[in-house]
Amino acid sequence: MQNNQIVHIGYSHKNASVAVRDAVSLSPDVALAFIEAGVNNPASAIQEMAVITTCNRTEFYFVSNRPEILKDWLFSEYQLRHHLDLSQTDAVPLILFNEDAVDHLFAVAGGLESMVLGENQILSQVKSSYDLILSSGYQFPLLNRLFQEAIRAGKSVRTNTALCQGAVSISLAAVELARKIYSSFEKRKILLVGAGETNELVAIHFKAIGATQFIVANRGVEKRQKLAEKYAAKAISLDHLEDALLEADVVIVATGSQHYLIDFALMQRVIKLRNHRSLLMVDISSPRNVDPAVSKLDEIFLYDIDHLKNVIAENLEKRRGEIPHAKELIATVNKDYSTWLKSLDVVPTISKLAGYFNQIRQQELEKFVNKTEDREFEHLEQLSKSIVKKLLHYPILNLREMANGQKLDMSKINTIWEIFRLFELEERNKEDKTN
């Protein structure tokens, strides 16, 4: 037990190409099969195991007393199950131990390791990995607690910093702008001009914030109807754009048209007919499909792709500014976990140490069993107990203080076990129990 280490082996956008990331990616079922194979095989020396698998990262967390064999075991499992020879790829897995591995997981949960800094999805993916541990039916005390703390770290970063705030994609930036104009979207009409991928993404994000009324305007009938069906939207041709502009509260234009679809004269007419109601227009097309002169109208808030890119750049800059604060929060959670981990380590050490001293005491006492009278033996026994107690007082006290004060690491614990040959004692005890 004392040699156990927490080990991370992983591939992510930082150390592997998209081809390798795709190849090593695991479905939850396969991840569970990996876990079962690991913990059920004594040769692998894996006591606990967890897997995080997303489109950008596949990471394995182990608790093992033989960390040096884990990489080979993992490679052989991939070979066996995926017919994938990882040694032949140019990607080198990131391997981290103990505090570094813990720190890495907390940073992952906090969004600090994501491809898009502060990305939100990763926390739910860490939660899924934790659920996988729970559903596996295995008892993984160290990783169980580790993942709980990682989720806490992720939540803390999201609650107490702006690391995950502000849109960092074009479609989300459009939605964020709309939220600065309207406070609710149930009754708002979203006009999507163009039925391509961009507008579909926009529709997804608007739906997520409560929008239910969509109008899809597109030249091609098939495409507009396909998108309209997905979002229970009204599908119209571009000939009816003016009517749709009268109703809409938000207009997103993303088409491949090479000229303006919406010009100043049209919008001047529309605004009058709308009783000067505000209108957000986001032109994501390149070249632009909305005449920039439209922004001269007071009631129109017009944004093009460059404006949105500026929004994203500013948001990313703000997120980067939050990194030190996020790291401080993660360090706090890491400290809590380390304290817990070290308190776990010190208890069996103290117990074994006391056991070792008492064993010697009893061995020595036994030499006097038939050589002294009962009363004298009692005195000897009391004396020996008192000596052992005094001898152990400071070592135990200091061990506890070192554990509480974060001054104890696994190497020091291991030294104590080696000096007093506690491993042998543990083995002997196991054998005695077996016999």
Binding site: L177, R179, K180, I181, Y182, S183, S184, N275, H276, R277, S278, S295, D298, E299, F301, Y303, H307, N310, V311, E314
Partner: protein, 275 residues
């Protein structure tokens, strides 16, 4: 004993409002919801203490405490705080509190500094009907002022969004729709309470002076302003007007009304002055 309590509360009120202002300012800057909650609780505490202060003063001096400028300042602070608090609770949105608490704090500081709690006042003003008339009139004016400030905020935020600027105003203020909604509540509250105040004023004039209406500039301006607001509201409601135009109307409408009252007070010969 009671006068000691009145004097102590007179000092306590600016402190409470000042602290609430600081919390609202921090909330505006950091957007940490805990700060917003504490600011709101402190404001409610301030309002309760203020109400106790006004009631205690009324009981002790036996008059409605709006008989001079500094008492009116305190009443304006109280009215603004109450109306703002109601708007905040109705919309569950406290990010605009900073602006109104600044007004509340300033009025209360000036009142607390210069008020003389000696009970000297015109006997005419001891009539409770005068107190209620003035209370509702000030409540109405405060509400319309709040509505005007919301109009200004809308205007400022709309300008920032149009100019693609994402500074403190963009980050701190709630959405345009929310600002418009809050402004509407303010103007509706103003219309109702000012209307009630003006009506009670006419009623009191009838009881004391024997006529319902006198062609006094201050009264004429107040009546015209109220009718204009009422007509404006009707047009907005019937035609479903919203957005930038509405916010400009709310702002300039109040400025015009305020200026007219100022001009009448400074230049006009009005009987409607009791100080």
């Amino acid at each position: 004993m009671m006068i000691q309590a009145i004097k102590a509360t007179n000092v306590l009120l600016p402190l409470l409002y000042g602290l609430a202002f600081v919390l609202y300012a921090l909330y505006f800057n950091t957007r940490q919801s805990e700060l917003g909650k504490w600011a709101s609780k402190l404001l409610l505490g301030g309002i309760v203490v203020h109400l106790v202060y006004l009631v205690t003063k009324g009981i002790y001096f036996q008059y409605f405490p709006i008989t001079n400028s500094f008492e009116s300042f305190s009443m304006i602070a109280f009215d603004t705080a109450v109306i703002y608090y109601i708007i905040e609770r109705l919309n569950k949105e406290g990010k605009t509190g900073l602006f109104f608490l600044a007004i509340v704090f300033l009025f209360q500081v000036v009142s607390s500094m210069f008020i003389e709690n000696n009970g000297i006042h015109s006997g005419l003003l001891a009539n409770p009907m005068f107190g209620i008339h003035t209370f509702f009139t000030l409540l109405g004016l405060s509400s319309l002022a709040i509505s005007a400030v919301y109009g200004l905020m809308y205007w400022m935020l709309a300008k920032e969004i149009k100019a693609h600027r994402f500074g403190a105003i963009y980050e701190g203020l709630p959405s345009l729709e929310m600002l418009e909604g809050m402004g509407r509540v303010g103007s509706l509250a103003g219309l109702v309470t000012l209307g009630l105040g003006i009506f009670l004023g006419h009623l009191w004039a009838y009881k004391i002076l024997g006529y319902f209406f006198k062609a006094d500039p201050k009264i004429v301006i107040s009546d015209i302003a109220w009718i204009s607001y009422a007509v404006g509201w009707l047009i907005v409601w019937r035609r479903g007007l919203s957005g930038l135009r509405l916010s400009r109307w709310a702002f300039w409408g109040f400025i015009l009304f305020f200026m007219a009252i100022m001009v009448v007070n400074i230049l006009g010969n009005t009987f409607h002055s009791f100080t």
